[in-house]
């Protein structure tokens, strides 16, 4: 499994202010890419552009060397995006929440897969409680269970460590590394310092479009 997400000359202007400019990216399978920058530097916007949610950018995006506009369908079928908000319905149980995501992803809607995914994020025993009765960290874990539930090579994660306890953070970090090792790719924003790993790359966004990459 190889994958490649490229951006050339990427720039985003929001109401006459450049969030970033002249950004060139080449992300391949096996990498963990951390997007860094101060608040308001456009990290979330960049992730939204790279996950195909915002069409409001200049420059070109390529998925596996095809322009994003043509490859959008294939791109979405390979993408798993977790945003700021967990996307978990308080009135539904974790199992029901995941069933909807399974169906949206085009996976077979099977309960054993869901149970296994919930167990992997430490929610065994909470499957049938309404998500509203779970803590914020547990709700975040329900969202993270989608990483196990729908096998997708490209993960775009916006602040995935929010509200999670220390053990959970370690487990998630380890999960990101195994995903990269098995050929997948992770794009992540976080304030949490990721423990050094040979696959880790950084994209630094500054104020006013001073971007550096290495």
């Amino acid at each position: 499994m190889t994958l490649r997400l490229q951006a050339s000359d990427l720039a985003c202007e929001r109401d006459d202010r450049w969030l970033f400019k002249d950004l060139d990216l080449d992300i391949r399978g096996g990498e963990i890419v951390r997007v860094e920058g101060p608040n308001g530097s456009g990290k979330t916007t960049l992730l939204k552009i790279l996950s195909g949610q915002l069409a409001d950018y200049q420059g070109e995006l390529f998925w596996n060397e095809r322009p994003m506009r043509q490859a959008r369908q294939a791109f979405l079928e390979n993408l798993l995006y977790l945003g700021h908000a967990p996307g978990v319905k308080a009135a539904l149980t974790p199992l029901e929440n995941l069933a909807w995501y399974q169906a949206l992803a085009g996976e077979p809607v099977q309960e054993p897969t869901r149970l296994a995914a919930l167990e992997a994020v430490g929610l065994a025993g909470f499957e049938d409680l309404p998500a509203g009765q779970l803590s914020a960290g547990q709700q975040r874990r329900v969202a993270l269970a989608r990483l196990e539930l729908t096998p997708r090579p490209l993960w775009v994660l916006d602040e995935p460590f929010t509200a999670i306890d220390r053990e959970g953070v370690e487990a998630l970090e380890a999960r990101l590394v195994t995903h990269a090792r098995s050929g997948g790719c992770v794009l992540v924003t976080t304030h949490h310092e990721l423990k050094a790993s040979h696959q880790l790359r950084h994209i630094r966004l500054g104020r006013g479009g001073q971007d550096a990459e290495h």
């Binding site: 929001r14 109401d15 006459d16 409001d56």
Partner: protein
């Protein structure tokens, strides 16, 4: 294909539009002034009296052009919105933003002149006449587009939302008009409607035609003028605008 594309984008460049509109504007202003003057004098002084309504029918020379324009501006606004959404041409959005208040005021003028006309014709300021009712709904549609554009904190999102609403509205306008006409004939089949009239003599409709043309020229001139100032406002940090300001000051 490539040529058409580059032409469309050239047309859409604010700088190019700013230049071409400067050359076009005086022509439209002159035409508007001449046509409006000629039409008013002819319509108000020389056109014959109406056999039924006397002199009061002359308000038609304001009411009908305003009503025409009110509808045309909504259509132009939706077309500009479509151009903005499909080709991402910002000038189209600026023009649409400038057209909305103008269209709303034209709708208001049409409503007000209709109400004034109602006094001698029906003996009341307001009748639920088919044309007046459609105009009232159109006014609400304009107010919705204006309010929606202003409600977004990000201008770009406001522009897109207003464009979608204008397009939805323009599909609905004929449906609304048709259903209101139908509703009106159902409820007041016998009432005299001011605007659905027997054929007018040429001395009456010729000045009307001139007035309509004059209103259109006025609309184009005002839209060009206001779009130009909007271009300067939105592009004030671009180099060509700063150079322009430097030249003049």
């Amino acid at each position: 294909m490539g040529k058409i594309w580059s032409f469309i984008h050239k047309l859409g460049s604010p700088k190019w539009f700013y230049g071409i509109s400067a050359r076009l504007m005086p022509w439209f202003w002159t035409a508007a002034v001449i046509l409006l003057l000629a039409g008013s004098v002819w319509g108000l002084v020389f056109a014959p009296q109406d056999y039924q309504q006397g002199n009061s029918f002359r308000i038609i020379y304001v009411h009908v052009p305003a009503a025409f324009l009110a509808q045309s501006i909504f259509v132009s606004m939706a077309v500009a919105g479509l151009i903005f959404m499909v080709w991402k041409i910002k000038v189209a959005d600026m023009a649409a933003a400038m057209m909305a208040p103008l269209g709303a005021s034209m709708t208001f003028i049409a409503l007000f002149s209709g109400a004034v006309w109602g006094v001698p014709t029906w003996g009341t300021w307001w009748m639920w006449d088919a044309r007046l009712t459609s105009m009232l709904i159109l006014l609400f549609l304009y107010l919705g587009v204006i309010a929606l554009r202003g409600a977004f904190s990000s201008r770009d999102s406001g522009s897109r939302a207003a464009s979608v609403l204008a397009m939805v509205g323009v599909i609905n306008i004929p449906i609304i008009k048709y259903s209101v006409d139908w509703w009106y004939t159902l409820h007041q089949p016998a009432t005299f409607s001011v605007t659905s009239r027997p054929a007018m003599p040429v001395e009456m409709w010729a000045p009307l035609l001139i007035m309509v043309l004059g209103f259109y020229c006025f609309f184009i001139a005002v839209t060009l003028m206001r779009t130009r100032s909007e271009i300067l406002r939105r592009e004030s940090n671009k180099r060509w605008v700063r150079e322009l300001a430097g030249d003049q000051g």
